[in-house]
Subunit: 250 residues, 2 copies
Amino acid sequence: MEGNKNAGDKKDKLADQIMQNPQVLAALQERLDSVSQTPSSYIETLPKAVKRRINALKQLQEKCAHIEAKFYEEVHELERKYAALYEPLFAKRMFIVTGEVEPTDDECEWHSGGEEEEKEKLAEDVKNKMTISDTPSAEDSKGIPDFWLTIFKNVDMINISVQEHDEPILKHLQDVKVKFSGPGQAMSFTLEFQFGPNEYFNNLVLTKTYKMKSEPDSADPFSFEGPEIIDCEGCTIDWKKRVKISPLKQ
Amino acid sequence: MEGNKNAGDKKDKLADQIMQNPQVLAALQERLDSVSQTPSSYIETLPKAVKRRINALKQLQEKCAHIEAKFYEEVHELERKYAALYEPLFAKRMFIVTGEVEPTDDECEWHSGGEEEEKEKLAEDVKNKMTISDTPSAEDSKGIPDFWLTIFKNVDMINISVQEHDEPILKHLQDVKVKFSGPGQAMSFTLEFQFGPNEYFNNLVLTKTYKMKSEPDSADPFSFEGPEIIDCEGCTIDWKKRVKISPLKQ
Protein backbone atom coordinates (compact mmCIF):
# COMPACT_ATOMS: atom_id res chain seq x y z
CA MET A 1 0.00 0.00 0.00
CA GLU A 2 2.84 2.35 0.82
CA GLY A 3 4.24 1.57 -2.61
CA ASN A 4 0.97 2.53 -4.21
CA LYS A 5 0.85 5.81 -2.36
CA ASN A 6 4.39 6.63 -3.44
CA ALA A 7 3.50 5.81 -7.00
CA GLY A 8 0.52 8.14 -6.73
CA ASP A 9 2.71 10.92 -5.39
CA LYS A 10 5.20 10.30 -8.14
CA LYS A 11 2.51 10.37 -10.79
CA ASP A 12 1.23 13.59 -9.31
CA LYS A 13 4.69 15.09 -9.32
CA LEU A 14 5.19 13.94 -12.88
CA ALA A 15 1.98 15.64 -14.02
CA ASP A 16 3.21 18.73 -12.19
CA GLN A 17 6.52 18.69 -13.98
CA ILE A 18 4.80 18.14 -17.27
CA MET A 19 2.08 20.71 -16.99
CA GLN A 20 3.54 23.45 -14.81
CA ASN A 21 4.74 25.22 -17.91
CA PRO A 22 1.86 26.62 -19.98
CA GLN A 23 4.02 26.36 -23.09
CA VAL A 24 3.75 22.59 -22.86
CA LEU A 25 0.32 22.57 -24.48
CA ALA A 26 1.60 24.69 -27.34
CA ALA A 27 4.51 22.29 -27.73
CA LEU A 28 2.09 19.36 -27.68
CA GLN A 29 0.05 20.93 -30.43
CA GLU A 30 3.22 21.62 -32.38
CA ARG A 31 4.28 18.04 -32.04
CA LEU A 32 0.87 16.93 -33.26
CA ASP A 33 1.49 19.14 -36.27
CA SER A 34 4.94 17.83 -36.94
CA VAL A 35 3.89 14.22 -36.39
CA SER A 36 1.19 14.66 -39.00
CA GLN A 37 3.35 16.85 -41.21
CA THR A 38 6.55 14.89 -41.65
CA PRO A 39 6.09 11.19 -42.32
CA SER A 40 8.86 10.12 -39.98
CA SER A 41 10.37 6.71 -40.20
CA TYR A 42 8.14 5.73 -37.27
CA ILE A 43 4.97 6.60 -39.16
CA GLU A 44 6.29 4.71 -42.17
CA THR A 45 6.34 1.54 -40.06
CA LEU A 46 2.64 1.83 -39.19
CA PRO A 47 0.00 -0.34 -40.84
CA LYS A 48 -1.61 1.35 -43.82
CA ALA A 49 -5.01 1.52 -42.12
CA VAL A 50 -3.38 3.54 -39.33
CA LYS A 51 -1.56 5.84 -41.76
CA ARG A 52 -4.92 6.40 -43.45
CA ARG A 53 -6.44 7.48 -40.13
CA ILE A 54 -3.51 9.84 -39.54
CA ASN A 55 -4.51 11.57 -42.79
CA ALA A 56 -7.94 12.11 -41.26
CA LEU A 57 -6.22 13.75 -38.26
CA LYS A 58 -4.34 15.96 -40.72
CA GLN A 59 -7.64 17.20 -42.15
CA LEU A 60 -8.86 17.96 -38.62
CA GLN A 61 -5.58 19.70 -37.81
CA GLU A 62 -5.89 21.89 -40.87
CA LYS A 63 -9.39 22.91 -39.79
CA CYS A 64 -7.98 23.77 -36.36
CA ALA A 65 -5.35 25.99 -37.99
CA HIS A 66 -8.09 27.98 -39.76
CA ILE A 67 -10.00 28.41 -36.50
CA GLU A 68 -6.76 29.50 -34.84
CA ALA A 69 -6.31 32.14 -37.55
CA LYS A 70 -9.70 33.61 -36.61
CA PHE A 71 -8.65 33.57 -32.97
CA TYR A 72 -5.58 35.69 -33.76
CA GLU A 73 -7.73 38.10 -35.76
CA GLU A 74 -9.87 38.60 -32.67
CA VAL A 75 -6.78 39.07 -30.51
CA HIS A 76 -5.72 41.78 -32.97
CA GLU A 77 -9.14 43.42 -32.46
CA LEU A 78 -8.56 43.27 -28.70
CA GLU A 79 -5.14 44.86 -29.15
CA ARG A 80 -6.79 47.69 -31.07
CA LYS A 81 -9.36 48.13 -28.34
CA TYR A 82 -6.71 48.23 -25.61
CA ALA A 83 -4.41 50.53 -27.60
CA ALA A 84 -7.16 53.14 -27.20
CA LEU A 85 -7.15 52.56 -23.42
CA TYR A 86 -3.36 52.93 -23.16
CA GLU A 87 -3.33 56.00 -25.37
CA PRO A 88 -4.04 58.70 -22.75
CA LEU A 89 -1.38 57.19 -20.47
CA PHE A 90 1.19 57.05 -23.25
CA ALA A 91 0.28 60.63 -24.25
CA LYS A 92 0.90 61.73 -20.69
CA ARG A 93 4.20 59.84 -20.71
CA MET A 94 5.26 61.74 -23.80
CA PHE A 95 4.34 65.09 -22.25
CA ILE A 96 6.40 64.28 -19.17
CA VAL A 97 9.33 62.95 -21.22
CA THR A 98 9.43 66.06 -23.43
CA GLY A 99 8.81 68.42 -20.52
CA GLU A 100 5.58 69.80 -21.92
CA VAL A 101 3.87 68.85 -18.68
CA GLU A 102 5.37 68.96 -15.20
CA PRO A 103 3.72 66.23 -13.13
CA THR A 104 2.14 67.27 -9.83
CA ASP A 105 3.49 66.11 -6.47
CA ASP A 106 0.65 63.58 -6.23
CA GLU A 107 1.56 62.16 -9.61
CA CYS A 108 5.17 61.79 -8.52
CA GLU A 109 4.52 59.84 -5.34
CA TRP A 110 6.01 56.42 -5.51
CA HIS A 111 6.35 53.79 -2.85
CA SER A 112 8.55 50.91 -3.82
CA GLY A 113 8.05 47.44 -2.42
CA GLY A 114 11.10 47.10 -0.18
CA GLU A 115 10.84 48.66 3.28
CA GLU A 116 14.44 49.75 3.18
CA GLU A 117 13.94 51.49 -0.13
CA GLU A 118 10.79 53.10 1.16
CA LYS A 119 12.55 54.79 4.05
CA GLU A 120 15.28 55.97 1.72
CA LYS A 121 12.63 57.29 -0.65
CA LEU A 122 10.81 59.13 2.07
CA ALA A 123 13.95 60.92 3.12
CA GLU A 124 14.68 61.79 -0.47
CA ASP A 125 11.12 63.00 -1.09
CA VAL A 126 11.38 65.41 1.78
CA LYS A 127 14.71 66.61 0.48
CA ASN A 128 13.29 66.88 -3.06
CA LYS A 129 10.41 68.98 -1.93
CA MET A 130 12.69 71.39 -0.15
CA THR A 131 15.34 71.72 -2.80
CA ILE A 132 13.46 71.09 -6.03
CA SER A 133 9.77 71.86 -5.89
CA ASP A 134 10.33 75.08 -4.07
CA THR A 135 13.51 76.29 -5.65
CA PRO A 136 14.01 75.07 -9.20
CA SER A 137 17.74 75.14 -9.84
CA ALA A 138 19.96 74.93 -12.88
CA GLU A 139 20.14 71.17 -12.54
CA ASP A 140 16.48 70.95 -13.58
CA SER A 141 16.63 69.60 -17.09
CA LYS A 142 13.53 69.74 -19.23
CA GLY A 143 11.47 66.55 -19.09
CA ILE A 144 13.53 63.37 -19.12
CA PRO A 145 16.50 63.93 -21.42
CA ASP A 146 17.53 61.10 -23.76
CA PHE A 147 14.66 58.93 -22.53
CA TRP A 148 14.22 56.86 -25.72
CA LEU A 149 17.92 56.80 -26.57
CA THR A 150 18.56 55.38 -23.10
CA ILE A 151 15.91 52.72 -23.67
CA PHE A 152 17.18 51.82 -27.13
CA LYS A 153 20.72 51.50 -25.77
CA ASN A 154 19.60 49.27 -22.90
CA VAL A 155 17.25 46.84 -24.63
CA ASP A 156 19.31 43.80 -25.57
CA MET A 157 17.35 43.15 -28.77
CA ILE A 158 17.85 46.70 -30.02
CA ASN A 159 21.15 47.97 -28.67
CA ILE A 160 23.31 46.03 -31.14
CA SER A 161 21.57 47.97 -33.92
CA VAL A 162 22.14 51.39 -32.40
CA GLN A 163 25.41 52.62 -33.78
CA GLU A 164 27.40 55.56 -32.54
CA HIS A 165 26.32 57.80 -35.42
CA ASP A 166 22.63 57.04 -34.67
CA GLU A 167 22.85 58.37 -31.15
CA PRO A 168 22.72 62.12 -31.88
CA ILE A 169 19.62 61.48 -34.03
CA LEU A 170 17.92 59.31 -31.40
CA LYS A 171 18.42 62.06 -28.83
CA HIS A 172 15.61 63.86 -30.70
CA LEU A 173 13.20 60.92 -30.49
CA GLN A 174 10.24 62.03 -28.38
CA ASP A 175 7.76 59.19 -28.65
CA VAL A 176 7.12 55.79 -30.20
CA LYS A 177 3.55 54.83 -31.01
CA VAL A 178 1.98 51.67 -32.41
CA LYS A 179 -1.14 52.08 -34.55
CA PHE A 180 -3.08 48.95 -35.41
CA SER A 181 -5.07 48.54 -38.63
CA GLY A 182 -8.82 49.01 -38.29
CA PRO A 183 -11.54 46.37 -38.56
CA GLY A 184 -12.15 45.25 -42.13
CA GLN A 185 -8.65 46.37 -43.17
CA ALA A 186 -5.85 43.95 -43.96
CA MET A 187 -4.03 43.15 -40.70
CA SER A 188 -1.12 45.51 -40.13
CA PHE A 189 0.47 47.86 -37.64
CA THR A 190 2.38 51.08 -38.03
CA LEU A 191 5.19 52.32 -35.84
CA GLU A 192 5.35 56.08 -35.51
CA PHE A 193 8.60 57.60 -34.36
CA GLN A 194 8.00 61.20 -33.31
CA PHE A 195 11.05 63.48 -33.40
CA GLY A 196 11.68 66.98 -32.21
CA PRO A 197 13.03 69.51 -34.75
CA ASN A 198 16.55 68.41 -35.63
CA GLU A 199 19.39 69.03 -38.06
CA TYR A 200 19.14 65.62 -39.75
CA PHE A 201 15.74 65.47 -41.47
CA ASN A 202 12.62 67.57 -41.94
CA ASN A 203 10.07 64.89 -40.98
CA LEU A 204 8.73 65.21 -37.46
CA VAL A 205 7.29 61.71 -37.64
CA LEU A 206 8.93 58.72 -39.29
CA THR A 207 6.61 55.79 -39.91
CA LYS A 208 6.99 52.19 -40.86
CA THR A 209 4.03 49.95 -41.66
CA TYR A 210 4.20 46.20 -41.18
CA LYS A 211 1.73 44.10 -43.15
CA MET A 212 0.75 40.88 -41.49
CA LYS A 213 -0.90 37.67 -42.52
CA SER A 214 -2.95 35.52 -40.20
CA GLU A 215 -3.99 32.52 -42.24
CA PRO A 216 -2.45 29.10 -42.71
CA ASP A 217 -0.48 28.59 -45.92
CA SER A 218 -2.51 26.09 -47.94
CA ALA A 219 0.70 24.35 -49.05
CA ASP A 220 1.91 23.98 -45.46
CA PRO A 221 -1.00 24.54 -43.04
CA PHE A 222 0.74 22.97 -40.04
CA SER A 223 3.49 25.55 -39.94
CA PHE A 224 0.92 28.18 -38.89
CA GLU A 225 1.86 29.77 -35.59
CA GLY A 226 -0.20 32.94 -35.68
CA PRO A 227 0.18 36.22 -37.53
CA GLU A 228 3.49 36.88 -39.25
CA ILE A 229 4.98 39.94 -40.86
CA ILE A 230 4.94 39.52 -44.64
CA ASP A 231 6.02 42.96 -45.79
CA CYS A 232 6.97 46.38 -44.49
CA GLU A 233 7.30 49.84 -45.88
CA GLY A 234 8.93 52.89 -44.35
CA CYS A 235 8.12 56.50 -45.12
CA THR A 236 10.51 58.56 -47.20
CA ILE A 237 13.00 60.37 -45.00
CA ASP A 238 13.42 63.98 -46.07
CA TRP A 239 17.08 64.36 -45.18
CA LYS A 240 18.48 67.83 -44.74
CA LYS A 241 21.21 68.62 -47.25
CA ARG A 242 23.76 69.78 -44.76
CA VAL A 243 24.12 66.48 -42.91
CA LYS A 244 27.79 65.60 -42.84
CA ILE A 245 28.57 61.94 -43.06
CA SER A 246 32.09 60.81 -42.50
CA PRO A 247 33.28 58.65 -45.44
CA LEU A 248 34.48 56.10 -42.91
CA LYS A 249 30.97 55.52 -41.63
CA GLN A 250 29.30 55.03 -44.98
CA MET B 1 23.52 63.50 -51.91
CA GLU B 2 24.60 59.95 -52.57
CA GLY B 3 25.90 59.87 -49.01
CA ASN B 4 22.55 61.07 -47.73
CA LYS B 5 20.75 58.39 -49.68
CA ASN B 6 23.05 55.74 -48.24
CA ALA B 7 22.43 57.08 -44.78
CA GLY B 8 18.71 56.92 -45.47
CA ASP B 9 18.98 53.33 -46.62
CA LYS B 10 21.05 52.49 -43.59
CA LYS B 11 18.59 54.11 -41.26
CA ASP B 12 15.82 52.20 -42.98
CA LYS B 13 17.72 48.96 -42.63
CA LEU B 14 18.37 49.74 -39.00
CA ALA B 15 14.67 50.27 -38.33
CA ASP B 16 14.08 46.99 -40.13
CA GLN B 17 16.56 45.17 -37.94
CA ILE B 18 15.10 46.75 -34.86
CA MET B 19 11.46 46.21 -35.59
CA GLN B 20 11.33 43.08 -37.70
CA ASN B 21 10.89 41.03 -34.57
CA PRO B 22 7.51 41.66 -32.93
CA GLN B 23 9.00 40.73 -29.56
CA VAL B 24 11.00 43.92 -29.66
CA LEU B 25 8.08 46.02 -28.46
CA ALA B 26 7.52 43.66 -25.56
CA ALA B 27 11.21 43.93 -24.73
CA LEU B 28 11.00 47.70 -24.99
CA GLN B 29 8.11 47.75 -22.58
CA GLU B 30 10.01 45.42 -20.27
CA ARG B 31 12.99 47.70 -20.36
CA LEU B 32 10.75 50.65 -19.54
CA ASP B 33 9.59 48.64 -16.57
CA SER B 34 13.05 47.71 -15.42
CA VAL B 35 14.36 51.22 -15.95
CA SER B 36 11.63 52.54 -13.72
CA GLN B 37 11.80 49.59 -11.34
CA THR B 38 15.44 49.30 -10.46
CA PRO B 39 17.13 52.58 -9.64
CA SER B 40 20.24 51.78 -11.63
CA SER B 41 23.41 53.69 -11.05
CA TYR B 42 22.54 55.68 -14.18
CA ILE B 43 19.25 56.87 -12.73
CA GLU B 44 21.04 57.76 -9.50
CA THR B 45 23.16 60.22 -11.45
CA LEU B 46 20.14 62.11 -12.76
CA PRO B 47 19.05 65.47 -11.36
CA LYS B 48 16.39 65.14 -8.70
CA ALA B 49 13.77 66.89 -10.82
CA VAL B 50 14.26 64.20 -13.47
CA LYS B 51 14.09 61.38 -10.91
CA ARG B 52 10.86 62.92 -9.68
CA ARG B 53 9.42 62.78 -13.21
CA ILE B 54 10.50 59.15 -13.53
CA ASN B 55 8.30 58.46 -10.50
CA ALA B 56 5.40 59.93 -12.47
CA LEU B 57 6.21 57.50 -15.29
CA LYS B 58 6.14 54.68 -12.71
CA GLN B 59 2.58 55.65 -11.75
CA LEU B 60 1.60 55.60 -15.43
CA GLN B 61 3.34 52.27 -15.91
CA GLU B 62 1.45 50.76 -12.99
CA LYS B 63 -1.83 51.92 -14.53
CA CYS B 64 -0.78 50.28 -17.79
CA ALA B 65 -0.13 47.01 -15.95
CA HIS B 66 -3.69 47.04 -14.62
CA ILE B 67 -5.09 47.68 -18.09
CA GLU B 68 -2.90 44.85 -19.40
CA ALA B 69 -4.39 42.55 -16.77
CA LYS B 70 -7.86 43.27 -18.16
CA PHE B 71 -6.55 42.55 -21.65
CA TYR B 72 -5.38 39.10 -20.57
CA GLU B 73 -8.76 38.45 -18.96
CA GLU B 74 -10.39 39.16 -22.30
CA VAL B 75 -7.91 36.90 -24.07
CA HIS B 76 -8.92 34.17 -21.61
CA GLU B 77 -12.55 34.80 -22.61
CA LEU B 78 -11.55 34.44 -26.25
CA GLU B 79 -9.77 31.18 -25.44
CA ARG B 80 -12.96 29.91 -23.84
CA LYS B 81 -14.96 30.91 -26.89
CA TYR B 82 -12.55 29.20 -29.27
CA ALA B 83 -12.26 26.08 -27.10
CA ALA B 84 -15.92 25.52 -27.93
CA LEU B 85 -15.13 25.82 -31.66
CA TYR B 86 -12.27 23.33 -31.47
CA GLU B 87 -14.27 20.88 -29.38
CA PRO B 88 -16.11 19.00 -32.17
CA LEU B 89 -12.80 18.60 -34.06
CA PHE B 90 -11.01 17.32 -30.98
CA ALA B 91 -13.91 14.98 -30.22
CA LYS B 92 -13.62 13.57 -33.73
CA ARG B 93 -9.87 13.20 -33.22
CA MET B 94 -10.49 11.16 -30.10
CA PHE B 95 -12.98 8.91 -31.88
CA ILE B 96 -10.47 8.26 -34.66
CA VAL B 97 -7.61 7.72 -32.21
CA THR B 98 -9.59 5.23 -30.12
CA GLY B 99 -11.09 3.53 -33.17
CA GLU B 100 -14.67 4.33 -32.23
CA VAL B 101 -15.11 5.97 -35.62
CA GLU B 102 -13.53 4.87 -38.89
CA PRO B 103 -13.03 7.97 -41.06
CA THR B 104 -14.49 7.92 -44.57
CA ASP B 105 -12.30 7.93 -47.66
CA ASP B 106 -13.10 11.62 -48.18
CA GLU B 107 -11.98 12.38 -44.66
CA CYS B 108 -8.69 10.57 -45.26
CA GLU B 109 -7.69 12.40 -48.40
CA TRP B 110 -4.55 14.35 -47.96
CA HIS B 111 -2.40 16.18 -50.43
CA SER B 112 0.88 17.30 -49.04
CA GLY B 113 2.67 20.40 -50.29
CA GLY B 114 5.65 18.87 -52.11
CA GLU B 115 5.02 17.61 -55.65
CA GLU B 116 7.34 14.66 -55.14
CA GLU B 117 5.52 13.67 -51.97
CA GLU B 118 2.21 14.08 -53.71
CA LYS B 119 3.05 11.58 -56.42
CA GLU B 120 4.29 9.15 -53.81
CA LYS B 121 1.09 9.68 -51.86
CA LEU B 122 -1.12 9.13 -54.86
CA ALA B 123 0.52 5.80 -55.60
CA GLU B 124 0.19 4.83 -51.97
CA ASP B 125 -3.46 5.93 -51.85
CA VAL B 126 -4.29 3.68 -54.76
CA LYS B 127 -2.45 0.83 -53.11
CA ASN B 128 -4.20 1.56 -49.79
CA LYS B 129 -7.60 1.48 -51.35
CA MET B 130 -6.91 -1.85 -52.94
CA THR B 131 -5.29 -3.57 -50.02
CA ILE B 132 -6.88 -1.88 -47.03
CA SER B 133 -10.28 -0.37 -47.67
CA ASP B 134 -11.47 -3.36 -49.60
CA THR B 135 -9.84 -6.20 -47.70
CA PRO B 136 -9.21 -5.37 -44.08
CA SER B 137 -6.32 -7.52 -42.97
CA ALA B 138 -4.80 -8.57 -39.68
CA GLU B 139 -2.50 -5.54 -39.77
CA ASP B 140 -5.51 -3.27 -39.19
CA SER B 141 -5.04 -2.07 -35.63
CA LYS B 142 -7.88 -0.34 -33.91
CA GLY B 143 -7.72 3.45 -34.19
CA ILE B 144 -4.22 4.88 -33.79
CA PRO B 145 -2.43 2.78 -31.16
CA ASP B 146 -0.24 4.58 -28.62
CA PHE B 147 -1.14 7.96 -30.10
CA TRP B 148 -0.69 10.03 -26.91
CA LEU B 149 2.22 7.97 -25.63
CA THR B 150 3.98 8.62 -28.94
CA ILE B 151 3.32 12.34 -28.58
CA PHE B 152 4.45 12.46 -24.96
CA LYS B 153 7.65 10.64 -25.88
CA ASN B 154 8.39 12.98 -28.77
CA VAL B 155 7.70 16.40 -27.23
CA ASP B 156 11.01 17.69 -25.93
CA MET B 157 9.45 19.48 -22.97
CA ILE B 158 7.61 16.36 -21.80
CA ASN B 159 9.69 13.36 -22.80
CA ILE B 160 12.26 13.79 -20.03
CA SER B 161 9.41 13.33 -17.54
CA VAL B 162 8.06 10.16 -19.13
CA GLN B 163 9.83 7.30 -17.42
CA GLU B 164 9.86 3.72 -18.54
CA HIS B 165 7.33 2.66 -15.89
CA ASP B 166 4.91 5.39 -17.04
CA GLU B 167 4.73 4.04 -20.56
CA PRO B 168 2.36 1.09 -19.98
CA ILE B 169 -0.02 3.49 -18.20
CA LEU B 170 0.18 6.13 -20.93
CA LYS B 171 -0.71 3.49 -23.52
CA HIS B 172 -4.24 3.74 -22.07
CA LEU B 173 -4.43 7.52 -22.45
CA GLN B 174 -7.21 8.25 -24.96
CA ASP B 175 -7.59 12.01 -24.88
CA VAL B 176 -6.34 15.20 -23.29
CA LYS B 177 -8.76 18.10 -22.89
CA VAL B 178 -8.36 21.64 -21.59
CA LYS B 179 -11.37 23.20 -19.87
CA PHE B 180 -11.25 26.91 -19.14
CA SER B 181 -13.00 28.52 -16.18
CA GLY B 182 -16.24 30.31 -16.98
CA PRO B 183 -16.93 34.04 -16.94
CA GLY B 184 -17.21 35.44 -13.43
CA GLN B 185 -15.18 32.55 -12.01
CA ALA B 186 -11.62 32.91 -10.79
CA MET B 187 -9.30 32.38 -13.77
CA SER B 188 -8.24 28.74 -14.07
CA PHE B 189 -8.02 25.82 -16.46
CA THR B 190 -8.40 22.10 -15.94
CA LEU B 191 -6.58 19.39 -17.81
CA GLU B 192 -8.59 16.23 -18.26
CA PHE B 193 -6.71 13.04 -19.06
CA GLN B 194 -9.15 10.42 -20.30
CA PHE B 195 -8.00 6.81 -19.92
CA GLY B 196 -9.39 3.53 -21.15
CA PRO B 197 -10.08 0.80 -18.59
CA ASN B 198 -6.71 -0.29 -17.24
CA GLU B 199 -5.07 -2.37 -14.51
CA TYR B 200 -3.48 0.63 -12.75
CA PHE B 201 -6.35 2.79 -11.44
CA ASN B 202 -10.14 2.90 -11.43
CA ASN B 203 -10.54 6.52 -12.60
CA LEU B 204 -11.39 6.89 -16.27
CA VAL B 205 -10.53 10.59 -16.12
CA LEU B 206 -7.66 12.14 -14.18
CA THR B 207 -7.93 15.89 -13.73
CA LYS B 208 -5.66 18.64 -12.62
CA THR B 209 -6.84 22.21 -12.10
CA TYR B 210 -4.48 25.15 -12.43
CA LYS B 211 -5.50 28.36 -10.68
CA MET B 212 -4.24 31.50 -12.33
CA LYS B 213 -3.83 35.10 -11.39
CA SER B 214 -3.95 37.96 -13.86
CA GLU B 215 -3.31 41.07 -11.83
CA PRO B 216 -0.17 42.98 -11.03
CA ASP B 217 1.33 42.37 -7.61
CA SER B 218 0.88 45.67 -5.74
CA ALA B 219 4.34 45.27 -4.19
CA ASP B 220 5.97 44.72 -7.58
CA PRO B 221 3.61 45.87 -10.36
CA PHE B 222 6.29 46.04 -13.05
CA SER B 223 7.03 42.33 -12.93
CA PHE B 224 3.56 41.64 -14.38
CA GLU B 225 3.82 39.68 -17.63
CA GLY B 226 0.32 38.29 -17.91
CA PRO B 227 -1.52 35.47 -16.15
CA GLU B 228 0.56 33.10 -14.07
CA ILE B 229 -0.21 29.80 -12.41
CA ILE B 230 -0.46 30.32 -8.65
CA ASP B 231 -1.73 26.93 -7.51
CA CYS B 232 -2.76 23.54 -8.81
CA GLU B 233 -4.66 20.59 -7.52
CA GLY B 234 -4.91 17.10 -8.94
CA CYS B 235 -7.76 14.65 -8.41
CA THR B 236 -7.28 11.65 -6.15
CA ILE B 237 -6.02 8.67 -8.09
CA ASP B 238 -7.90 5.52 -7.10
CA TRP B 239 -5.04 3.06 -7.56
CA LYS B 240 -5.89 -0.60 -7.95
CA LYS B 241 -4.45 -2.69 -5.16
CA ARG B 242 -2.82 -5.29 -7.33
CA VAL B 243 -0.40 -2.94 -9.06
CA LYS B 244 3.09 -4.36 -8.64
CA ILE B 245 5.81 -1.83 -8.25
CA SER B 246 9.38 -2.99 -8.44
CA PRO B 247 11.31 -1.77 -5.36
CA LEU B 248 14.02 -0.52 -7.69
CA LYS B 249 11.65 1.88 -9.37
CA GLN B 250 10.21 3.44 -6.21
